[in-house]
């Protein structure tokens, strides 16, 4: 089994038991999300349990590509389980993070970790090669630490007297030496206090942010997992892998000696540069001090930075945007550090703070107001303000260590808090006016569902803000060219042709990429959403290619701008594993995994009738700009999709198209036996039938 270590670690926290699962038992799912969903399906008998139930199982999976030279395909770790962030149901969900955790886990000899049960008191898991111990947090005083202090304490403990930078001989089974410190993923106070927007943090800022997995770990009394290993990952064809790597980066990656096209953040050819949004809305600003790019293991183009002042080390994207109106760049950078140290989801904190400011402006929220809230909004922009705010979320108090009901409410997430405050009721409820900008499953708006259809539809048909930038690069490319200048990387026609040509098995259907109002509920749009779900479920979330670098659609370095997607993914996969996988095999396996997920959501209680956006998406037109591909008098153009709502009835038509395309019962959205059987998921169909939830057809 090249690319695999052969075993998955299974830890039962309730009974303090360490067990193993042979990876081969789940090999048909390849790795990452596929394996995680399949293990979850097998181990969690009652899928209707709450995320805080000790029976909830959290899987932390690698892929065969992790820890190898596959560019932007080596460093991610996929986390799954029943989440606690979404509303009204905490869906079975996922969130992956970068860095070096998956590499270290494989060096230690494990393809993944399965966590179940709840420890009696706070513990952490210490993995040194094949030696695994569940340790009490007390000797190191870990419970109560922030995520950075926790990691450093564990490093020092594991390293013992070993000096930083010297070889460390592992006392765990297998021996071996390493110069590295353990890869630790930890929760901060937010997780300990069961804040539904709590993250897992690894190194300075790699975070598994969505789903509230920090709180799930907190409920299990699990503070951290530390792993250090020295073993080898076998590769089927080392020469072919090296050749493929060099060919890929020499042909398709940025070239400072020959710069081409607009250097966007979420493309294969992005230069190594921190993606930070500090300084917006006046335009993002990089700190003008000594710094380097920072990359996950094996990545050709890092997207984070480390700085001379140390402020905002490794902070990234939304983690740098949430307090972008602070009075100074330093405060913004320190606010990013607060999120990472306390382990708080940046997106929910960002959109949530926007919401609180609206309520404060309207005179309903603040000290002594109807919603008695301990933050003094006239201090907005200061460090004291944001520190108190983040601490309120993390500690569920007033941010200064005193009890506060509204502080406690924040830990429930903004939609649940708003509901508790009576803000969702009536015709002017905050999800009707859009004051509370949380459009899908009680989760914060990321890219606009009324305009970026594959994002919005993909999210509401799934479990979380998809956060998959495959087509979103079009939005950024054209937006920047309109407002800052320069040409987009390709014309609208080129974009449509290049992308759709790669979208097998629907290749060549150009209308998949018509984001115009006429086409937004069509079968073609359903195909775009389905292809996106299938591609990402396998290639991004199971093979674990990085969302920021894959797929490679439009590439200014490539012949005729035709990027490498469809050619390269499987080349790397086969060089590592020795399998004979095609690109389409990956898409088909993605479809299989997506079906399994849909079956799990169905068992959790999902029905077609629930699949709806928040009301404001149907009632309030989207006001911002969003240029996407559409036809104008038969010709492809970048069209500003502004000023529209989603039509609620027509969205029903879209759902029907989508369910037909997936082979699910259009009445209920339940997967059908024939579809599941065709995907070799007969036992899943049996389980649905047993629960009265098997779709017709």
């Amino acid at each position: 089994m090249n690319g695999y270590m052969g075993e998955i670690l299974r830890v039962d926290l309730t009974h303090g038991k360490i067990m193993t699962i042979p990876t081969r038992a789940y090999e048909p799912w390849v790795g990452g999300h596929g394996m995680g969903s399949a293990i979850f399906f097998d181990l969690v008998k009652d899928k209707t349990i709450d995320g805080f139930d000790p029976a909830n199982v959290v899987t932390i999976m690698t892929s065969p590509l992790c820890g190898t030279l596959v560019p932007a395909g080596s460093g991610r770790t996929e986390v799954q389980g029943i989440g606690v962030q979404s509303y009204p149901i905490g869906w079975f969900t996922r969130s992956n993070f970068g860095g070096r955790f998956s590499t270290m886990l494989k060096h230690a000899g494990w393809d993944g970790i399965v966590i179940e049960g709840r420890a009696e008191g706070p513990v952490w898991i210490d993995i040194r090669n094949r030696t695994v111990q569940i340790r009490n947090c007390r000797p190191l005083s870990l419970w109560g630490t922030d995520t950075w202090a926790c990691q450093e304490r564990i490093w020092n403990y594991v390293a013992g007297k070993g000096a930083f930078g010297d070889w460390l001989t592992l006392d765990g089974g297998g021996g071996g030496k390493t110069t590295q410190r353990p890869a630790v993923v930890a929760i901060g106070p937010a997780g300990e206090n069961l804040s539904r927007m709590a993250c897992l943090i690894h190194d300075a800022a790699n975070s598994s942010g969505q789903g509230g997995f920090g709180a799930v770990w907190g409920s299990k009394n699990l503070k951290a997992i530390s792993v250090i290993g020295t073993g080898s990952i076998n590769v089927h064809a080392p020469k072919a892998l090296m050749e493929a790597r060099l060919r890929q980066t020499n042909t398709y990656a940025f070239d400072l000696d020959n710069r081409k096209g607009r250097p966007l953040s979420t493309v294969f050819d992005a230069p190594p540069r921190p993606v930070t949004l500090w300084g917006t809305p006046r335009g993002s600003k990089r700190p003008s001090e000594g710094q380097r790019p920072v990359a996950c293991v094996g990545c050709h183009a890092g997207c984070r930075g480390r700085y001379e002042s140390g402020l905002g080390n490794e902070a990234h994207c939304a983690g740098t945007a949430f307090y972008s109106e602070a009075s100074s760049l330093d405060i913004q950078r320190r606010s990013s550090d607060l999120l990472n140290r306390y382990g708080v989801n940046a997106f929910e904190a960002w959109r949530g703070l926007e919401y609180l400011r609206v309520l404060n402006k309207e005179g309903v929220l603040g000290p002594g107001k109807k919603i008695d809230f301990p933050l003094t909004f006239k201090n907005f922009g200061s460090y004291e303000f944001v520190e108190q705010f983040v601490k309120m979320i993390a500690f569920r108090n007033d941010g200064h260590g005193h009890k506060s009901q509204t502080g406690a409410d924040l830990g429930e997430g903004f939609v649940r808090a708003a509901e508790k405050w009576g803000r969702l009721e009536g015709e002017e409820g905050d999800l009707k006016t859009g004051w509370l900008n949380f459009p899908y499953w009680g989760l914060p708006n990321h890219y606009e569902p009324r305009a970026e259809l594959e994002w919005g539809y993909g999210t509401i048909l799934g479990d979380r803000d998809i956060n998959e930038h495959c087509f979103n690069t079009i939005f950024w490319d054209v937006l920047i060219s309109r407002f800052i200048g320069g040409k987009p990387r390709a014309t609208a026609e080129e974009t449509v042709k290049i992308c759709t040509e790669k979208m097998i098995p629907f290749q060549g259907d150009h209308l998949m990429m018509d984001y115009g109002t006429e086409n937004m509920y069509s079968e073609h749009m359903a195909k775009l959403v389905a292809w996106h779900r299938h591609y990402t479920r396998f290639w991004k979330q199971s093979a674990l290619l990085c969302d920021f670098r894959w797929p490679d659609f439009i590439n200014p370095y490539a012949l005729d701008k035709v990027g490498s997607t469809g050619e390269s993914e499987q080349k790397f996969f086969n060089a590592v594993t020795g399998k004979h996988f095609s690109f389409l095999d990956g898409i088909e396996l993605g479809r299989r995994i997506w079906n399994l997920d849909q079956a799990i959501w169905t068992l959790q209680g999902r029905h077609r009738d629930m699949v709806h956006f928040a009301d404001y998406i149907y009632q309030v037109p989207y006001g911002g700009p969003c240029f996407m591909t559409s036809r104008v008098n038969g010709a492809w153009e970048y069209v500003n999709i502004s000023g529209r709502c989603i039509d609620k009835e027509k969205f029903e038509e879209f759902k029907t198209h989508f369910y037909h395309l997936e082979g699910w019962d259009p009445k209920t959205g339940y997967p059908s036996r024939s579809t599941l059987r065709s995907l070799n998921l007969g036992t899943v169909a049996d389980e649905l039938e047993k629960n009265g939830k098997l779709g017709k057809g």
Binding site: H107, W167, T179, K239, M242, T249, G298, R306, N313
Partner: protein
């Protein structure tokens, strides 16, 4: 072979004392001077036989490196056919909580002019290999895995590393940087070594590793840890100095 010839011609027979060499060159100019004028002759401690200088060296820029460890993965891939950071002959060591540039270091083999590892090996399993530009190389068949070379290496972490080697029935063997001279999984048809291609250099996405034939300044780190940042790098918002 060139070294031996020259050694005979200049009458030293490859032996030249540190004292006499320094007298000749001036300590401050050791790196450049040796590199340009006497590429094949080195200074050594009083009585040790001369070891011809390596014809190639790796230089790194620790302020430029993005910490991706691709160089490490490439190293074990071309040498052992596996991915293993612990087997990499170049080590990138990081602390994400530290301030730049103290958050990262790269420790590569220096192919020392006066290699303590070579001197320490009791069975002559670690020697300058004339077939590969005198790169200091482990002969696996001879190596007993005693670890004397690693213990003798004056640098931290030691640049030679003893580990179980599958090619020798998992017996302990030393491994050290050979500039990819004897890398069984080398991808390039002309191979590696000082006259070929080195995996870490080829794979580094930011060109933070460079090859040179010039002997770097041996005292301290400055000869090996260099500035490879230019205007193009600075155009991405990074410092050049």
């Amino acid at each position: 072979m060139g070294n031996k010839k020259q050694a005979k011609q200049d009458g030293t027979n490859g032996k030249i004392t540190r004292r006499s060499f320094l007298k000749l060159s001036g300590a401050a100019a050791v790196g450049m001077w040796v590199g340009n004028a006497l590429p094949d002759v080195i200074w050594i401690d009083e009585v040790i036989a001369a070891i011809p200088a390596s014809e190639g060296y790796l230089l790194v820029d620790t302020k430029k490196c993005q910490g991706c460890m691709s160089c490490m993965l490439a190293c074990s891939l071309v040498h052992e056919g596996v991915e293993n950071l612990s087997l990499a002959r170049i080590q990138v060591i990081q602390n994400p909580f530290q301030k730049w540039p103290h958050d990262l270091t790269i420790e590569q083999c220096r192919q020392c002019v006066d290699p303590a590892c070579v001197a320490a090996c009791p069975v002559h399993a670690l020697e300058a290999n004339p077939n590969y530009g005198n790169v200091r190389m482990v002969y696996g068949e001879r190596c007993t895995g005693c670890g004397e070379c690693a213990a003798a290496c004056p640098y931290t972490p030691s640049r030679s590393l003893v580990a179980a080697d599958e090619r020798y029935q998992n017996k302990e063997k030393a491994g050290k940087c050979d500039l990819c001279a004897k890398a069984p999984y080398h991808w390039y048809k002309k191979g590696g070594g000082p006259h070929g291609k080195q995996a870490c250099i080829e794979v580094c996405p930011v060109k933070a590793i460079k090859f040179t034939k010039e002997i770097p300044l041996q005292e301290g780190e400055a000869g090996y840890k260099v500035n490879l940042r230019d205007e193009k790098w600075a155009s991405l918002g990074y410092p050049m100095d």
